[in-house]
Symmetry: C2
Amino acid sequence: MAKELKNLTKRSENYSQWYNELVTKADLAEQSAVRGCMVIKPYGYAIWEKMQQTLDAMFKKTGVKNAYFPLLIPKSFLCREAEHVEGFAKECAVVTHYRLKNDPDGNGVIVDPEARLEEELIVRPTSETIIWGTYKNWIHSYRDLPIVCNQWANVMRWEMRTRMFLRTAEFLWQEGHTAHATAEEAEERTVQMINIYADFARKYMAMPVIVGVKSANERFAGALNTYTIEAMMQDGKALQSGTSHFLGQNFAKAFDVTFVNKDNQPEYVWASSWGVSTRLMGALIMTHSDDNGLVLPPHLAPIQVVIVPIYKNDEQLSAISERVKPIIAKLEEMGISVKYDDADNRRPGFKFADYEVKGVPVRLAIGARDLENGTVELMRRDTLEKETLPLEGIEAHIAGLLEKIQENIYNKALAYREKMTYTADTYEEFKEKIENGGFILAHWDGTPETEEKIKNETKATIRCIPLDGDDTPGVCMVTGKPSARRVIFARAY
Amino acid sequence: MAKELKNLTKRSENYSQWYNELVTKADLAEQSAVRGCMVIKPYGYAIWEKMQQTLDAMFKKTGVKNAYFPLLIPKSFLCREAEHVEGFAKECAVVTHYRLKNDPDGNGVIVDPEARLEEELIVRPTSETIIWGTYKNWIHSYRDLPIVCNQWANVMRWEMRTRMFLRTAEFLWQEGHTAHATAEEAEERTVQMINIYADFARKYMAMPVIVGVKSANERFAGALNTYTIEAMMQDGKALQSGTSHFLGQNFAKAFDVTFVNKDNQPEYVWASSWGVSTRLMGALIMTHSDDNGLVLPPHLAPIQVVIVPIYKNDEQLSAISERVKPIIAKLEEMGISVKYDDADNRRPGFKFADYEVKGVPVRLAIGARDLENGTVELMRRDTLEKETLPLEGIEAHIAGLLEKIQENIYNKALAYREKMTYTADTYEEFKEKIENGGFILAHWDGTPETEEKIKNETKATIRCIPLDGDDTPGVCMVTGKPSARRVIFARAY
């Protein structure tokens, strides 16, 4: 059993299979009976909950208030904003009936044809339309602005090819929807939120991200401008990890939402929307994990420290437990989450393998000999290094170590990204380099046509036009036309 | 505007209209564009969030782990347990298609007839079926048991008559689903959870509840036994506020979930499920609120104390703000949530009315004269009593007062329930008394037929067979047959 747990496909052999096996073996999620929908298992959900709580607190500090809007959207609402419906109509779950009935032919239960809805309802793929339909009632005067609402919700997009966490038909997310009196204020909020996402990614997920703007091709359906955070996975592919959209007055116009300004004139309201989803779980897994399983950043690990007693009899166990009890209490007092695993139906070797595959940052093992010597064996998950340490003062050591691990895995991921970031000055060079994955900084003429051509020929897209970094102008590697600055190309999830 | 806020229909005039107006005026929720679905507004959601966080912590203390299961359930799953499908098939939203397309006739967007699902999917009305379909993969041996999972989720029941919070097509809830090796353990968990609900209702919602068992007629579809907490609203009607079900082996049998016991024999797994929903918001509103608006128990109020400065000029305002700042800091340090409302676009009278209708437990008003005298005017929302108090030491006074208010509204609700609880020994007496609302303790012969007859003739149902209280046997008020003990009848929401 311990062997089976560790028997993970290597990343270098088959990255995609490694990922799928890891999600299962670390007990994070599994496929459900419904096509493309996953079950998030307790251990996976505990990580998502930590993400959620952390983000929620960060949002609230900036004045965000949570609310809840309906799951189902009338078809006519979805159609109000032309680009928006174009972007989402092809992949949505449609509710057409509201009742089942017994099959008159005796074959169980069938959809009752008499319970057909007058207007079909769409399971929300995102909630701009239903929310702007609601905001119309909330907004009359400049005094009602700004509105800065967020909801934690499930959404559904009927994707054809799905992968757990990365692309699922149903996923969990938060979506913020704000309304403002001026374009400037709406854009400021758009940028503020992408920076919160970047902060969260870096400080909690230990994941370096690049903040930038999407090209027109990659923009959200209905937005004037989309900001993104882009991360690099260990196979050199990019993962879009969070987006924040400046929606201009598009949805206000589609739903006729105006306000009377200070000069008593009616104006359309300005908007932003922004979201991150359970996709972040995929990003987290693929940024740090190794061939032994999950590696979790201490700031998001549901269990930060596991203590495994090694004993031959009940007497030894109770001596160990006695010695360990005050250590656990002290650690918990310091805000560190500890699991003491004294379960007697699994052997230490199994436990070691299990916590390793689950990515618990620090493992302590303590046996009868340790007790005599006043020592403990500590293993850190990120480097797999073991050392024997005095029990005395172990709590402070662990607290420091958790921060060290958090920093170390961030630096490791950053070093990998830097190693895998190239420049290309000609299209030939670009085509050659893109085969190895990674980010390629190249000049582009700013047209959707050129981007489309590059995508068709190389499968690489513009991940973003970075907000920071080298902004020297140049010429497009494909057309030779002027380029304002290098942008980031990559193959992406 | 202030007048409009307070201009609430009186409970004695039209209780139902009072409720609807209050939900709107206190900014808790509103109807959405989708039939029977509500929008939970930020202030309402903040109360729900406090409920959620409190309950979640109470659950976790008993070993509950959160997880997430799919929104959509294959029709065939719903049909596996006969009573269950009977109970839910008539009120469910059915997804039949997964794509829209442009109408070839140019009328916007239509459902793509080619994107019909092979098997229809049901928006979950509750998740026993999809979860037991999943547990089949998780459970093999007694070592895998117990499983104690909960999910916070949205569910949908296509009710014909809806009312905000009390009965909506979509609602938010938690549903716990547990799996055990023995019937005793499953029943223990069932009872443990109903007791947690009762505890939560009493200590946080300040709502007295009676814990009892449902009669067969009122049982959950698929359960062997349903425990309930029943509360009395201010119109004398009962509100079922939370339920916990002992499911026996019904779902294990329907989904063929067995485990190998310690004697190496296969056995079906035993189950419980339990839930509370946004209906609790309706219960909270109707238990305490008065003709001036919402009354919130301090333990669940998003704003526990509001401070309104009364000033004629900026100088006065800044003097007041200066004096108030350390008081706010001290209160927050004590874990009390405070709002200092110095907004200059609304007058104090408007603010007073607004916080009154929103049920903020304690209001402080402070003007220039108070500053001179070192005093503050305090109003408590539950009694509407005002007093002028020294600013010095106000923090400790408030902390004590919040607990007093919490206790007072509980006692008030309890006194009301006791006043409105009667016994009836004959069916004549019963029919007369039930017209005035309230709980009626009466003897019943234990048969569904008698209960059905009483329901048809009086609209009263058995709310529960209480676990505590008078258990003297007697004779049924309708049939004269033996009765084990008095049960509680009431008209209910």
